[in-house]
Amino acid sequence: MNTFLESLRSALESIRAHGFRSLLTSLGIIIGVTSVIAVVSIVQGMSQSINAQFAGLGSNSLTIRSHTPFKQAMQGNFAKLQDSDMRVINRQVDGISHVTPVLYTNTGNQGAISYRSQSATSNIMGIGPSYLQVNGIYPQSGRFFTRDDENRRRLVCAIGVDIIENLELPKDPIGEFFLIGNNWCKIIGVIEKRGEILGFSQDNFILLPYATARRIMGSTRQDLDIQVQLLVEDMNRMEEVKSRIRRVLRKQHKLKAGQPDDFKVQTAEQLMESFNAIIDTVTAVSAGIVGISLLVGGIGIMNIMLVSVTERTREIGILKALGATRNNILLQFLIEALLLSLLGGLVGVALGYGAGALVAAILPGFPPAFVPLWAVLLSFGFCAAVGVIFGIIPAAKASQLDPIDALRYE
C-alpha cells in the first residue's frame, strides 16, 4: 500500500511536471469519452422523455400495419392493408370497441399546405371517427367529423396546434379555409396539444375524414396501403384478440401455412419497445465508435509513455542505483499511464455532459440531457483498462532497463 502511494505521488509529480504533454497524451481519451458521453446523454435524455410519453398512452390500443417480408420485398411485391381487411376485422373479431383506418398522405406534394402567402408541410392523415377514442385525443375547440362529413367526403379538417403557428392562421382558426395540395379545406376543429417525441413535434398534423383523404389523393383505387388502429375492450383479452386478428387476416390474404405474415399487429408497448430498441442500437453503435477512439487514445498513451521511458532512462538508472526495485519502477510508470487515462476520462465525462446539455439546450424541442451512472462507470472502467493495457508495455520496458546502461545513457 505504501509503495502504491509513493508510486502514485511520483506519477502525479511527473504528470504535473509535463502538464501540456500530459494533456496532449490524454487528448485521445478525452475526445473518445466526450463523444460517448455526449451521445449517450442526448439519446438517454430522449429515451426518458419517450418512455414518459408512452406511459401516458393507452395500452389497450392495437395498430395493424402492412409488413413486407424481406423475400417479397426483393421480388417487388409489397404487402398492403386495405379497406376490405379492416371490414373483415370489424366483422369477424370480437372484443373490439373502436376501429379506425389511418391513411397517411404525407408523400410527395400531398403534404404541402398553404394559407394566404404562408406555406408549410404537414402530416396529413385520413381517419375514421373512432381515431379520437383510439388515440386518446380531443378537440380543444370546434368539433370533430361527423358521419355526414365522411359520407359526403366533405373537405373539412381538424388540425394540430402547430398548424396555426406554421400557417400564421388567426388565433381562432375555426371556419378558415386553407389549401391542401390544390384543395381548399375548411378547419372545423383544433386538437389539443400532444407535445413531442424524439424531439419531433406531435402537433404538426391535419386530420381529414377518411373518404375525403382518399378523394384528395386523387384516387378511388382500392390498393392504397392503410393502417388500422383499434381499441380492445378488455385488456386481459389482448392476446386473444391479437391472435384472432392474425388468423382472420392470414385467411383474408390467402396466406398458406409456412408463409410469413404480410402484416404486423403491434401494441403501444411494442411501439415503445421498438423505440427503445432504436435507442439501444444508437447507444451501442456510439459505444463501439468510442471503443475505437479509446483504442486510438490508448495507443497514444503508450506512444508517449514509451518516449517518456526513453527520455527518462537516466532517471530510471539513478532510481535503480538508489535502490528502486523493478516493481517500484513498473508501478510508477503503470500508475502514470493509468492516471493519464483516468484524468482523460474525467475531463471527457465533464466535457461530454456539457456538450450533451448544450446540444439539448440549443436545439429546440430536445429533451434535457441525461447521463446514466452506468455510462460514467463504464467510461472510467474502459479508461482504466486502456491505461493498464497500454501502460504495461512502457512500464515493463522501464523496469527491465539495466541500471548501468541506464546510468550511462545520455
Binding site: S14, L319, G323
Partner: protein, 237 residues
C-alpha cells in the same frame, strides 16, 4: 593485502571475472580479481581508462554481477541474490556518488535526498526530517528547495553525497567525485569526504588523479582487469 587491522571485512572478492562477449571476441574486463576491504578503509581504485576500474565499482555497488567468482558483502554472498534483493542491498548498504552527480533533475535537493528512503517505506514526514538533517550535515541547509540546475557544481555534489549517506550505508562508492569540478571546489569536496572517513565511513573511490588518490590510505591499481599493485599509504591532506 592488508592484514593487521582488527576491523571486520566488509567486501570480499575471490577470483572475480567479468566477461563481455562481443561477437566471437571475449573480453575480460575483470580478470581474476581477489581483494578484501575492511570497515573504515579509505580506498582509491586507480588505473588507466579500460583497466576495469569502473566495472569493479559496478560490481562493488551491485549494479553488475561477476561472471565468475564470489563477492561476499557484509558476510552475504551477493552472487545468488535476486534482482529485488540486489536493489535492497543498493538501497541499504551502498551509497553512490557519481562524477556527473546524477541528481533527479526535476526534484529539489530535499526530494533528491529523500528518494532512497522512499524504497525503505519510511513515511513522508519522517523522510523529510532525515533528509533535512543529511543536507544540513553537508552545509546545504539553506538550499533544500532548490532544483539541481539552480545549484553550483560543488553544491550538486554535496547534495549527491548527502543522498548517498542519508540511509547510513556501509560503503560509500565514489566514481571520480571531483571529475566535473574546478580545483577549489574539488578540494572542498575532498575535505568533506575526508571528514566522512574520519567519522568512520568506509569509502571506495575511483579516480585517475594522483592528487585525489593521495587522500586515501590504500591505493589499488588495476591494469587490464588485474590488480597490478595494492599499497597502503599514509594519507596526506
Amino acid at each position: 593485502m592488508s592484514t593487521a587491522s582488527a576491523e571486520p571485512v566488509v567486501i570480499q572478492l575471490r577470483d572475480v571475472y567479468r566477461t563481455y562477449t562481443m561477437g566471437d571476441q571475449v573480453l575480460n574486463a575483470l580478470d581474476g580479481v581477489s581483494l578484501d576491504i575492511k570497515q573504515n578503509e579509505y580506498v582509491a581504485v586507480v588505473g588507466s581508462s579500460g583497466s576495469g576500474k569502473s566495472t569493479l565499482m559496478n560490481i562493488f555497488g551491485c549494479l553488475d554481477r561477476a561472471s565468475k567468482g564470489s563477492y561476499v558483502l557484509n558476510g552475504t554472498d551477493v552472487g545468488d541474490m535476486s534482482e529485488n534483493e540486489l536493489a535492497k542491498v543498493r538501497n541499504r548498504q551502498i551509497g553512490f556518488v557519481f562524477q556527473s552527480f546524477n541528481l533527479l533533475s526535476r526534484a529539489t535537493a530535499l526530494k533528491n535526498v529523500m528518494q532512497p528512503l522512499v524504497y525503505r517505506g519510511i513515511p513522508l514526514a519522517e523522510r523529510k526530517e532525515i533528509a533535512s538533517l543529511a543536507l544540513e550535515r553537508v552545509g546545504l541547509g539553506d538550499r533544500m528547495g532548490h532544483l539541481p540546475n539552480e545549484l553550483s557544481g560543488g553544491q550538486r555534489q554535496r547534495v549527491a553525497i548527502s543522498r548517498a549517506l542519508v540511509g547510513n550505508p556501509d560503503i560509500l562508492l565514489a566514481d571520480e567525485p571531483t571529475g566535473n569540478l574546478d580545483s577549489k571546489t574539488s578540494r572542498e569536496i575532498m575535505a568533506l569526504i575526508d571528514e566522512l572517513h574520519d567519522q568512520g565511513q568506509t569509502i571506495i573511490m575511483v579516480t585517475h588523479e594522483a592528487d585525489i588518490a593521495k587522500h586515501c590510505n590504500r591505493v589499488i591499481s588495476l591494469e587490464d582487469g588485474k590488480i597490478s599493485s595494492d599499497e597502503k599509504q599514509v594519507k596526506s591532506r
